[in-house]
């Protein structure tokens, strides 16, 4: 108690602390007020501080009483750093030594090349009708996983909406007004480039989606490309021009209906597969655009869903709405 000083406020260090906390400009000269009123004020402040200190000390004492059985944790905290470093080093050595014993990359004798892969490669085209084995695999054989992923995307967009959606009018107006405060508004270079790029990007996305069963790509990749195109449009031309063709109404209809139709398509596969019935949807000639049964439609629905989600993320972060 005797070592405690009460004049901390006027010391050099308290001023540095205030400067670090942003309460006072360190470089500005401030005359020291010697009037009685100021002294009274400072005395009152000191009294309040002392009361605060007493309360804090009591609270700390209570906490210490409660924590007394946990005293052995002190040793643990001392050892914590050493043990953490040791565990990290051990895990690194273990993992690296395991990697040494892994089979070589791409070797035909690898244990992953078992009868499952053989079945996919040999009978995949015949059973699913898709030339691109990967798409046939993830939308047909492993359709259940892909359905879960699409639902995860939907839930993620809903969560971002819960966190960032602005409903009130005044706040929304201020967001619209302050949108370009760090950027050049309506930059002519970006707009000219966007005029050329956006049609190409959207066309490429549609191509990737529609050819998902023939060439590399599929619903997710194509949807992400289309979403990126929409984001570029909004970044270049502003909210109002994008809202003319893609607003909240379109978003709701497109996203929910895509998800519903997607689940309907997959439910057909699940029902038929679980009961051992034959697939009655004609698969067509492999290699044609209209072939491979429901995979083309599932690709379109997944693409719509992903494009909507990507654009919704951007719009929600940017303006708190669609």
């Amino acid at each position: 108690m005797s070592r405690k000083r009460t004049d901390y406020r006027s010391t050099f260090y308290s001023r540095i602390e205030n400067f670090v906390n942003g309460k006072e400009d360190f470089l500005l000269y401030k005359p020291k007020g010697n009037t009685e009123a100021k002294q009274l004020e400072s005395l009152e402040e000191e009294l309040a501080e002392a009361a605060d200190l007493l309360e804090q000390r009591e609270a700390r004492q209570k906490l210490q009483d409660r924590m007394a059985p946990l005293d052995y944790l002190k040793n643990f905290h001392k050892l914590y750093g050493v043990v953490a470093a040791l565990v990290c080093a051990t895990m690194m050595i273990l993992l690296i030594s395991t990697v040494i014993y892994l089979p070589p990359f791409g070797s035909p004798d690898n244990p992953t090349n078992n009868e499952v892969i053989e079945r996919y490669i040999e009978k995949g085209e015949e059973e699913t009708g898709a030339v691109n084995i990967v798409t046939g695999l993830i939308l047909n054989y492993r359709g259940f996983d892909t359905m879960g992923e699409t639902h995860v995307l939907f839930i993620a967009a809903s969560c971002v909406m819960i966190l960032l959606l602005i409903v009130e009018g005044e706040e929304k107006k201020s967001v619209y007004a302050n949108d370009r405060y760090l950027e050049p508004g309506n930059d002519i270079i970006i707009q000219r480039v966007a005029c050329f790029l956006i049609p190409v990007i959207l066309l490429f996305g549609i191509y990737v989606i529609l050819n998902g069963h023939l060439s590399p790509g599929g619903g997710f990749s194509g949807g992400a490309v289309i979403g990126a195109g929409l984001i570029l449009h909004e970044a270049a031309f502003g909210f109002r021009k994008t809202e003319r063709f893609f607003n909240e109404h379109v978003y709701k209809i497109a996203k929910v209906s895509a998800l519903c139709f997607y689940v309907c398509c997959l439910s057909y596969y699940f029902y038929m597969g679980a009961h051992g019935y034959d697939n009655h949807i004609p698969l067509g000639t492999p290699g044609n655009i209209i072939s491979s049964g429901l995979i083309l439609f599932i690709n379109i629905f997944v693409g719509t869903e992903v494009a909507c989600t990507m654009y919704a993320f951007y719009a929600l972060f940017r303006k708190g709405g669609l």
Partner: protein, 84 residues
Amino acid sequence: MRLFILILAVFLIVCAIATCVHKTLLASIIIFMAYSTIMSLIWAMLESPDLAITEAAVGAGVTSILFFVTLKKIRAVEDEQKTD
């Protein structure tokens, strides 16, 4: 071809370390975009074009843009007009 893959791998490691080490958040995100672009090239060379398209669209495009917008939202990008 093998030399090209080696160069790409070295760039990948350099980008990964630089993303963590760099002090400016904005520069970190731009380096992260470069990382994703190199990664999509590597996917294409490992004969998985599906992943390459997705990585280029999601990793280099959408994720980085979301990072930028978040930086703007939390006012971490420096306001040049005010400091002038």
